[in-house]
């Protein structure tokens, strides 16, 4: 049973406090690109099939996140950092992962937020129901 270390409060990043409207975020690009870029004629049928593909892919991804909750996940990050943690949740833009019992060289952080731009990949095991 690992004893958690006390919470380290790191300084706020350059993003500031506002949740703001970030035109460089992936979400903005995905939602507004069709109206901005001139990447070819955007007709109704194309938009419909693109949206269908988008919701198909997103639903599967959300289900994979649901399957990950409460499991041990290994995160491979930049600067050769590999950490283990228990996955708790993600935000809507997949920019931050909430984790518990994050094992770091400083000790076990009871609760932590991992920034997704710092992550290269993550992995976990699952039982197949078949």
């Amino acid at each position: 049973m690992k004893t958690p270390v006390c919470v380290l409060r790191l300084p706020r990043g350059p993003d500031g406090t506002s949740r703001g409207f970030d035109p460089s975020s992936a979400r903005y690009q995905a939602l507004c690109t069709p109206t901005i870029s001139a990447s070819g004629p955007v007709d109704c049928v194309d938009l419909r099939s693109e949206q269908r593909a988008r919701s198909f892919l997103r639903e599967r991804y959300l289900r994979s996140l649901i399957a990950m909750v409460k499991r041990n996940v290994k995160f491979t990050m930049y600067e050769k950092v590999k950490v283990d943690a228990v996955f708790a949740g993600s935000d809507i833009d997949i920019l931050n992962f909430q984790v518990e019992d994050l094992e770091t060289p400083l000790g076990v952080q009871k609760e932590a937020l991992i920034r997704c731009p710092d992550v290269i990949s993550y992995s976990f095991e699952i039982d197949s129901s078949l």
Binding site: I94, C116, I120, S121, F124
Partner: protein
Amino acid sequence: MNEWCRKKPLEWQEYVNKEVKVNAAEQEYEGWVFTVDPVSANIVLVNLKDGGKASVMAVMGHAVEAVEVLREGDSSMADQLTSLFMPAGAQSYSREELENRKSCLRDWLEKNRIPFTEQGAQQETLCVAGVLTVNPPYGPEDCSSSNEIILSRVQHLIQSNPGCQQDQ
């Protein structure tokens, strides 16, 4: 944004159910593509193992350098991938069972004087009061509506159906 992130959802969908090799940050990842998240371009790869386990690896979209398709998956692989994450206990009903369930629900709605219409290519969807739809297999979880109050009322109603030939 790298080239992978600039792809469109239809292009990403092409990779689903294929075995691929992903190069990211000087590492290689291989596996069957379960999905590519359209918001972050993360690729979710699955490797099925013996003993009923599977290892899932996701590569973040911003880290992807190259994706190479190794193999196409067949329909049994597609089913295995889908069943890994979809809710357990998902039953499949036969046509008659679905028809019975639909009539059962229809009678219950009529009894409770709730207006509804049947819609869809095979009249399989019930549209209740013009704001809520019920899809097969017509359980409380199969209702969808943008109005929370109506959704909750109809769900309770369906749940309180004394039932026909229920296959509990």
